[in-house]
């Protein structure tokens, strides 16, 4: 079978000592980044983007992917032992996991999180292995109109569906699109919004925006508002699951994998929705509902953690096959590909097939590495939580500097970095989502090019977007995503009124 051969070839590439070293390094950094509060996978990958200048593409993509899913493993450790989620996907884990840790079962919670992540990550990787080539084969047939609408769908979901306010989500998206406009227009070659500054003709680096919003913004927010917040740390216990805990965990892992995976594949961004869905499912199906929210139910950790990892792995499908990022981190991974002059999309499986398959193979290897790193060695990671906050955040600022300065060697960028950090503080304080900014600035120029190409095909007529069945269907999905939640809310409100009246 063709896929088998290519996958084997991928393993051959991924298992060379140098690539194994990069995968391992990625997993270690990823886990550390996941464990440490105040820094997430998106910003870690962004800070390390300068390495794309020197390291060859396969090695650095393996490295970045290791950071990406390593952070998901590490994030659960923090959310179980502290009450602050290490990254947003482990918010739900923090609820039950922290309860379990408080009643002396931190070890079991950590074990089910790590093994669940492994099970879900591995199953999801198998699914990626078989689905991605099929989707890529199909996606070759998509033309600019369909691509533009797919990107429109990604914009809609990331700004209007996630988060509490559509208005603030859209504002963030358009700020991102505005940033993406700066630089040379891809089609006409004209400079836009450069104000005569030569540095701006290349556009604004995604590193600058991501590191500014997430690292510097986070540090400034912490010093401004959270200086006196004290985190209590739960006591560790032996990392071990009883037979009964195993029996309660594995159905939750499997269910959650199949909840999480589809959410990752569609451009619906983020892992918040599937983790919450999995939590709700487990709560409903559990034979021990009394443990939820009181002493902590193991299903409530096993499910969401597995759903999180399945969704994260599945986000590689839209990234690799369509070139559409659906989260902060995948947006920055797309930036990494672009640094090499590689444009992810359906052709990627032909033009860079060695890279893609090595990357997929490295996911299998990385999951095993992470299981080892996170189960027997969890005690080491817990020590990271002992780093005092001042030193931790001040250290993050050094890494922020090296990431941003290393990219373009411009001290002016460091001033911009501070300004974007301030923007990050305002956005965080007033509940503006940040993912739309990053996705908007990366995907905006691509979407614009597709739109103008589509209109050229249609000789300037907008009807080109409704002339093909696939594009009509996509337009329908965009409208549904925008309208259905609102209609649902309206309907619920009316029913409430009827009941009360």
């Amino acid at each position: 079978m063709d896929i088998w051969n290519q996958l084997l070839q991928g393993f051959v590439t991924a298992a060379t000592p140098i690539n194994l070293m990069w995968a391992f390094l990625g997993c270690v950094i990823g886990t550390a980044v996941g464990v440490l509060p105040g820094i997430g996978p998106a910003v870690a990958v962004a800070m390390l983007l300068p390495i794309t200048v020197k390291v060859e593409p396969t090695a650095s993509m393996i490295f970045f992917a290791g950071i990406y899913y390593g952070a998901m493993y590490g994030g659960s450790t923090t959310s179980i032992l502290l009450n602050t989620p290490g990254e947003s996907g482990s918010m739900v884990t923090a609820m039950e996991g922290n309860k379990m840790a408080k009643s002396g079962r931190a070890g079991a919670a950590l074990a089910t999180a790590a093994i669940g992540s492994f099970v879900a990550g591995t199953i999801a990787t198998v699914l990626v292995t078989f689905c991605a080539p099929l989707i890529a084969e199909y996606a070759v047939r998509l033309g600019p109109p369909e691509y533009f609408l797919l990107m429109l769908l990604a914009f809609t979901t990331v700004s209007a569906v996630l988060g509490k306010s559509t208005l603030r989500g859209l504002t963030a998206l358009f700020i991102g699109l505005a940033i993406g406009l700066i630089g040379i227009d891809q089609i006409s070659g004209q400079a836009r919004y450069t104000a005569g500054v030569p540095e701006l003709t290349d556009g604004i680096e995604v590193v600058l925006i991501a590191v500014g919003l997430f690292a510097v913004g986070e540090a400034l927010y912490t010093v401004l508002y959270e200086g006196r917040t004290v985190e209590s740390e739960n006591r560790m216990s032996k990392v071990h699951m009883t037979r009964q805990e195993w029996r309660r965990s594995w159905p939750a892992w499997l269910r959650a994998t199949f909840i999480g995976f589809p959410f990752g594949t569609i451009p619906a961004g983020g892992s918040e929705i599937p983790t919450f869905l999995s939590y709700a499912t487990e709560k409903k199906l559990s034979k021990h509902p009394e443990e939820f929210g009181t002493t902590g139910a193991i299903e409530g950790v096993a499910g969401p953690e597995a759903a999180n990892n399945a969704a994260i792995t599945a986000t590689l499908i839209p990234l690799l096959t369509l070139g559409i990022p659906t989260s902060n981190t995948t947006a920055i991974l797309l930036g990494a590909f672009q640094n090499y002059g590689i444009q992810p999309g359906p052709q990627l499986f032909q033009t860079s097939s060695a890279l893609v398959w090595a990357l997929i193979a490295s996911l299998y290897i990385g999951n095993v590495m992470l299981l080892v790193l996170n189960l027997p060695l969890v005690g080491l990671w817990v020590k990271l939580l002992k780093i005092p906050k001042p030193q931790l955040y001040a250290g993050i600022l050094i890494f922020a500097t090296v990431g941003v300065y290393g990219m373009r060697q411009s001290a002016f960028d460091l001033v911009l970095l501070y300004a974007i950090g301030l923007l990050g503080v305002v956005m965080r304080r007033f509940d503006f989502p940040t993912a739309p900014v990053v996705v908007g600035m990366i995907l905006g120029p691509l979407a614009e090019a597709q739109m103008r190409n589509a209109l050229s095909i249609g000789e300037g007529k907008w009807t080109v977007f409704v002339e093909r069945p696939m594009s009509v269907a996509l337009l329908g999905v965009v409208l549904a995503v925008l309208l259905l939640p609102r209609l649902g809310k309206l309907w619920a409100a009316r029913r409430m009124a009827a009941v009360q009246g």
Binding site: R228, V402, Y405
Partner: protein, 170 residues
């Protein structure tokens, strides 16, 4: 949702900021050519769309701010009032770093940034610095982070970072 009266001004400012961004984009869009070719829309099309969208969003934000505050707001985490003294330390740390990095080199500049920032976070936590040993320890920690990072980038990855000397070691 009831609004904290003190968040009315900042919320209004955010709306005004979005409107200002829209105005800037529109002003910039005026000088972008509209030469459209076959597609009927030129390089100035998206700039106008984004400017218009930000005009609508900014206006809407302004309206929300003036009529009871942002809707569906997640309560922000942390203290109600900002610790501006700590914030000033960290701001100075970052800006000093930007100003000095090309003259005194990456290691020294980042160490300074580290020391100042740590100071800010301590002050925000309400801990005062306990004399010269703490300062010395901070300087040491800062250097112990920035020096290996510097060497890794300049020696291993051969990425240019500014040094005090041309040796690539300091």
């Amino acid at each position: 949702m009831s609004q904290h009266p003190e968040s009315r001004t900042p919320q209004t400012l955010i709306g005004a900021g979005a409107l200002a961004a829209s105005g800037l984009l529109a002003a910039g869009a005026l000088v972008i050519s509209s030469e459209a070719g076959y597609s009927g829309v030129g390089p100035n099309f998206l700039p106008w769309v984004v400017a218009a969208a930000l005009l609508v969003c900014g206006g809407w934000i302004l309206w929300e701010a003036r009529s009871g505050g942002f809707r569906n707001m997640e309560e922000p985490s942390g203290a109600a009032r900002g610790d501006w003294r700590g914030f000033a330390w960290v701001s100075v740390a970052l800006l000093a770093n930007a100003a000095l990095i090309t003259t005194i080199g990456f290691i020294l500049s980042c160490t300074l940034c580290f020391v100042l920032a740590v100071q800010g976070f301590r002050s925000a936590a309400g801990v005062s610095n306990r004399g010269t040993t703490t300062w010395a320890l901070d300087v040491f920690t800062g250097a112990a982070i920035s020096a290996p990072v510097y060497w890794m980038f300049t020696q291993l990855l051969a990425i240019n970072l500014p040094g005090l000397t041309g040796s690539g070691w300091l």
